[in-house]
């Protein structure tokens, strides 16, 4: 298993990307792109392309939530309406579709939004300790590239980072 974690802080974003790209192209033997994490103050869809296909499953949860909202919403409303002690009817159907559509629509969105939110909380790796490698600079203007690696790969990586004008390298041992 990987024993160390190394973080390089870059000021120049292009260089940071280049470093990631280099890692990806196996400039350092034994380190794959899956070992690389990027810490950045802004969102970089382009960079993430470089990082490769890392899936986000949130839409599935959203779909699930929406479907649940739809089905549950309708069943809930229909059951409530049909079992209401008194039917507020006056010649109108017990389960009035038009108004239920409106409510089901709202409930669909309601559940979709909340599932999305919870899915985001639970799938995006929040609620973790920031770790020793975390630098407050990342929230300012610097980009951090974190690589998990074995001890023997430390040196080549440092070199690679320095090649790309790294500002600062932090290391830590995992266990």
């Amino acid at each position: 298993m990987k024993t160390h974690r190394v973080k390089g802080l870059f000021n120049n974003f292009e260089e940071a990307f280049a470093a990631v790209s280099d890692v990806r192209h196996s400039k350092v033997p034994g380190i794959g792109i899956d070992d690389v994490t990027l810490n950045s103050p802004i969102e970089h869809p382009e960079v993430e392309e470089v990082l490769g296909d890392r899936p986000a499953h949130i839409p599935k949860f959203t779909l699930g939530g929406a479907t649940f909202g739809l089905v549950f919403g309708f069943l809930f409303l229909a059951a409530a309406q049909a079992s209401f002690l008194v039917q507020p009817q006056g010649g109108k159907p017990v389960i009035p579709l038009p108004s239920n559509f409106v409510l089901v629509y709202e409930m669909l969105i309601f559940f979709a939004v909340w599932t999305t939110f919870f899915a985001f909380l639970f799938t995006s790796g929040l609620f973790q300790r920031r770790g020793n490698l975390y630098s407050e600079k990342v929230s300012l203007d610097q980009i951090g590239v974190i690589v998990e690696l074995n001890k023997d790969q430390l040196e080549p990586l440092r070199k690679l980072f320095q090649q790309h004008k790294v500002l600062e390298i932090r290391e830590e041992e995992i266990r």
Partner: protein, 466 residues
Amino acid sequence: MVIEKDINEQIKWAQINSDVLRSMENPRKAYWITFFVCIAMVACAVVAEIYQYRTGLGPSNLNNPHMWGMYISTFVFWIGMSHSGTLLSAILHIIHADWRKPIYRFAEAMTTFSLMTAGFFPIIHLGRVWNFYWVVPYVSARGVWPNFRSPLSWDAFAISTYLSASMLFLFIGMIPDLAICRDNARGFRKKLYGALSLGWVGSDKQWRHFRKTYLLMACFLIPLAVSVHSIVSSDFAMSIMPGWHVTSFPPYFVAGALYSGCAAIITLFIMLRYFFRFEEYMTLAIMEKTCKLTFAIAMVWTYLNLIEFAATWYGHDVYSKEVLIAKATGPYAWIFWTMIFCGSVVPFALAFQKLRRHMPTMFVVSLLLNLSMYFERWMIVAPTLSMAMEPHQFYIMYASVVQWAIVFGSFGWFGLLFLVFVKVFPSVSMYEVKEMVFHRRRLINEEAAAKFHRRSGDPQPGAQPA
């Protein structure tokens, strides 16, 4: 024509951080004065509401034909105002209009807060306030449910959905900024922001999920916003009252909502820009774009207004026609014509660049637009209540002190929430301004762009590394 950049792309990121964070510290005297004025307004409303709660709705001067009065028109006003945040944030996000970025945060906060204000009104206006939860479908041993046919119970659904969705949207969009705050704060604040930022570190995984979530939220928020104001419109349109039973009400309400929201954004834009020295971010160029957008919406609103009048005029529903005539000539005529003037004529000021760039003018214009929008809501609610079907019961309502106090207090409450917000949360999205700056800079920086494109030999997404 002055062609101007939306933002100075040379601005330093550290500068962004410090500018925004500076706006969050050490309130000045003016802030405290405003703050206590707001508190006083809220206090008035609270006193009025307690009085009304104990006495009944009588002191508000509501009367038999005119049962809703300013409570519901104010409710519609606040609900309408909440739509701007959604518009700027979600719609512009989806269509990749990145000039939204410096101003969407406060707009979104406005959404949430005006919803939080609006939500009070349907409750306050109830005769038996303490039973308001009966409109919520909860399982009760009595076997009774709310009436799901009633647009008012739709309101309960719609507002709770919209409020939670917009709060989530605001919150999610703020997480990276909260992390920035956390990293720059000390003591109690650090703990607060630490908890609120949920352990955000800006890793690519977080960003990736963040992007998806944000997009999905935006996708849901747009139809939601439309549906919410349609549902609010159905409070009126679903009734059979002349002047309310109007097919075009849903789009009319949505247009009016966007209109009032945009007007409020301009107001707050100018105020924030002035008070927090956000000239660098809230630039005149963005202002112009906002103004143009507002102008467009104003014209849509005007068009829908005319359509409604025409449809009523040429339609066969005599009652509606009489209500329309009563609007234009009756006791509410001055409100009607003020609304038309401020809502359809004044926005032409937005069509002139000179005026658009003149902040005091824009401030006044935006206030007039807001006024027009308030009057619009009044004109929707009041004439139909006062002059509907039964001539015997034609009667107008003069709002009492109690009613005025509660309506004023709602402005105080909104202001209070907003004032707290600007000091507790970043009112300009730092990370997104950085993105904006970054992308702009990259776009004009040919060299950087070229450098980036050279690397397009990188493997395509999905391919395994060699």
